[in-house]
């Protein structure tokens, strides 16, 4: 197959920058489209975060009204979840998974492109809801408040349907691709762990997202036709919204972290020159998290007036899910233990991921315990927890992955010096911003407030200053990522001397990936072992420190 136009508007493969604006069926183009788009929304969500932190720098309200503030955090949360992390990982996986499993593309290339382009009307509607005003009940949109808010709330609900379809079609594609299109010899137990994590993520998306879709559809229908699903005055039940919403939205957090877990399992072995420790348990723990993740949702509702007895089984399941996660963390520590660590930017982010994610995971134990949760639910303690797992976890993992695969995608190396500057600014800024929030939450500051009691002023100011550093930290990254496109040194096919099929092809890969399907006889973690599926290039300067 050559790089020709299928039809008037469908293209496959990129030969110029213009191709990235087309309906393009090449997974590598789609992956880049997802990554650039989602990163842009990361920046937008970050601006909203800065507005929030600016308002919170001092007690009292200075810049925005109560209603405007409510919109700020609503759109911030919605954008970060649905337009940054979820599609961002989908994009990275889109690029990398076919290469990692030895396939020439995803199972359904046209559906793949369609899934990406669905994000655009979804994002447009979300921004419209912000412009028009009214999406101000939090990303959690509890009824009856979300029934009272102005018209932007309905537009918000509809925008998420588009975005939800995008993720569902993406997940469908990943499952069929990974199940059916692995290279000959690549059994499930020889598959890269990133692929395992994408299977788990995709299963969650398939089973969970449609429930959110149903809940949102009913919200929109009720707002327009006054059917009464969630409105007490009509005989409806506000708790039904909460149950339907959280049935998806709890597993959604695993959608947001599992790809990061898989990615970390790819990066650490390469830069420790050791196999991943405990492959089987790591693979199985991803599946366990996917399944258990559907059994914990009501821990978001412990103070809701739900049946008091039911809180106990949900407490149990919420605690149990710490075990497979802990297994991963210990396995990663064992992976680097005794290795020969190379402190590339990618690896530093991966190591910081372990450090920060464990903090978020531990604060989650507090939240799982019902009596403790009674005090900290809906407070800044939760805000601190979620940012440690989503920023300290997911975003740091994303950066680790971006630095790792950037040379493969672009054919260029990024500057390690700028990378380290980026890392330190991020790491320090992040901790200054979010560590104090645990304390103000415990001491009595609720969530989603533009104003707070004066005794929380000092720590809030510290957090705001930290957030400015955190915001600034994206600048060296952007400068590096864009600048290296033109100035970066040529990467060659395998700058990290990594095992793994994606490193056997050129950087960037040929349009059709593999001239002939590779045959695989082992997993890609055979560092230190005497046999590999292919020889590694000689050690050279790029990629080392």
């Amino acid at each position: 197959m050559t790089d020709t136009q299928h039809r008037a508007f469908i293209r496959h493969g990129a030969t110029s920058w213009r191709d990235y604006f087309t309906f393009n069926t090449d997974h590598k183009v789609i992956g880049v489209q997802y990554l650039v788009t989602s990163f842009a929304f990361f920046l937008f969500g970050g601006v909203l975060a800065e507005l929030i932190r600016a308002e919170l720098a001092q007690p009292g309200t200075q810049f925005v009204s109560g209603s405007q503030y409510n919109q700020l955090f609503t759109i911030h949360g919605t954008v970060m979840i649905f337009l940054w992390i979820i599609p961002g990982f989908a994009g990275l996986a889109n690029y990398v998974i076919p290469l990692m499993i030895g396939a020439n593309d995803m199972a359904f290339p046209k559906l793949n492109a369609f899934a990406f382009w669905l994000l655009i009307p979804g994002a447009a509607l979300l921004l419209l809801s912000f412009a028009v005003g009214g999406a101000e009940s939090g990303w959690t949109a509890y009824a009856p408040l979300s029934l009272q808010t102005p018209v932007g709330q309905t537009i918000w609900a509809i925008s998420l349907q588009f975005i939800g379809f995008s993720t569902i079609f993406g997940a469908l594609n990943f499952l069929v691709t990974i199940f059916n299109m692995r290279a000959p010899g690549m059994t499930l137990m020889r598959m890269p762990l990133f692929a395992w994590s994408m299977v788990a993520t995709s299963i969650i998306i398939i089973l969970g997202t449609p429930v959110l879709s149903g809940a949102l559809a009913m919200l929109a229908i009720e707002r327009i036709l006054h059917t009464g699903f969630y409105a007490p005055s009509a005989g409806g039940d506000p708790l039904m919204w909460q149950n339907l919403f959280w049935f998806y939205s709890h597993p959604a957090v695993y959608i947001m972290i599992l790809p990061g877990f898989g990615l970390i399992s790819e990066v650490l072995p390469v830069f420790s020159r050791k196999p991943i420790f405990g492959y089987k348990l790591i693979a199985l723990s991803s599946m366990a998290i996917a399944i258990f993740g559907f059994l914990v949702w009501a821990h978001h509702m412990f103070t809701s007036g739900m049946d008091p007895l039911l809180r106990v089984p949900f407490m149990i399941t919420s605690m149990i899910i710490a075990v497979p996660t802990g297994v991963k963390i210990f396995s990663w520590l064992a992976t680097i233990w005794g290795g020969k660590l190379r402190f590339t930017t990618s690896n530093i982010f991966a190591l910081a991921f372990i450090s920060m994610f464990v903090i978020g995971g531990l604060s989650g134990i507090f939240l799982a315990s019902v009596p403790i949760d009674i005090h900290v639910q809906d407070t800044y303690f939760v805000v601190a927890h979620l940012h440690y797992v989503l920023f300290g976890g997911s975003v740091m993992a994303m950066y680790a992955g971006l630095y790792y695969w950037y040379p493969k995608i672009t054919g260029r190396l990024m500057s390690e010096r700028l990378g380290k500057l980026h890392f330190w600014m991020t790491f320090i800024g992040f901790n200054i911003t979010f560590m104090p929030l645990h304390v103000v939450g415990l001491e009595g500051m609720p969530r989603r407030v533009a104003d707070y009691a004066p005794e929380f002023g000092r720590l809030n100011l510290v957090a705001t200053l930290g957030s400015f550093l955190l915001a600034a930290s994206t600048l060296p990254f952007l400068y590096n990522a864009i600048g290296s496109l033109v100035r970066g040194k040529a990467a060659g096919p395998n700058p990290w001397r990594a095992l793994g099929l994606e490193w056997t092809v050129s950087s960037p890969p040929p349009i059709h990936n593999f001239p002939a399907p590779p045959v695989v006889t082992r997993d890609p973690y055979g560092y230190g072992e005497r046999v590999a599926d292919y020889p590694l290039p000689a050690p050279s300067a790029p990629g080392g420190n």
Partner: protein
Amino acid sequence: MSHEATPNEADHSAPAPVFDATSKAASFLIAAIAVIAGLVMGWVNPFMSKSASSQGTMIDTLFSIVLGITTVVFVIVQGFLIYSIVRFGRQPGDDEDGPPIRGNTKLEIIWTAVPAITIVIIGLLSYRVLADIERPQPGERLIEVKAFQYAWQFYYPEADVTATELHVALDEPVLLKMRSNDVIHSFWVPAFRIKKDVMPDRVTEARITGTELGTYPIVCAELCGAGHAVMRSQVVVQSDADFKAWLATAAAAKKAPQPAATADPIAYGRQLFTQYACDACHTLDDANAHGQIGPNLNGIGSRAANRVSGQPAEAYLRTSILKPGEYIVEGYPDAMPKDYGLRMSDAEVHALVTYLLGQK
């Protein structure tokens, strides 16, 4: 691409640093520091001020235990991480791979089983505390809580008293039965460690027993609209005698002959002022109101005419009650309920306006 067969194999002649004496010592040291740190953190618990309720005391103890345990895990993870970074960095010029260790079944069993057992323990302790803090107490006093956008009201059924502050007697167990007028709110007393959502379609309950004299904030902890941040009140823990005195005064004021609308318009207006919970947000000395959320209304009778040019005082006050968003006083939130027009009769609005006009 270079196909030189540089083997990705390690030099297996030297013992891997994985198991050497330094590593073993470091592991023990990290574990020891972890345990000590856990004990210290659990004992000290520097993150919260002392609680003021019996429920809070139990929750804080549980919190301390969990804090101790999570500190141990934290130190272990960070410790091994930092040690690895310091010790296992690649030596310059060493391009060999590390030891090909893929697993260790015993270790994997340990780090699955130990966390599992630990969380079972935390779960059991949590269950105990949960049962204890929610158990019905003999002689508990029933107080009804009403939440609306954006204020709290507390009703004492035995005394038929409505208040905008929650008063409780020291060490007296209280059962709160709560309901919302509109959207979901959440009743939270941080000092008591007790929180419960307040729903519009059902009654929710919470039990509190104040164990320290003092005044503690009540905060709304569920996003309820534009005024969510300012929806506050306070709980006053008083001695039994003081509490009974407060309740008696409030009851007497309630039982005082209700002024007829015409007989004593000032008293009638004053009564409406508290009946419609204006005192939840406004300060007005004449009505014994100390609300901190909306503008101070002392002297409003003199100011009303000058607030909006062209608007006579009476029209201004009337609009401010029925359409509160029209003339927001700078620095105050747009949080006043907008449905007084539906809840008050015309006569009542008129009486209130007359009353306020008289506050010079």
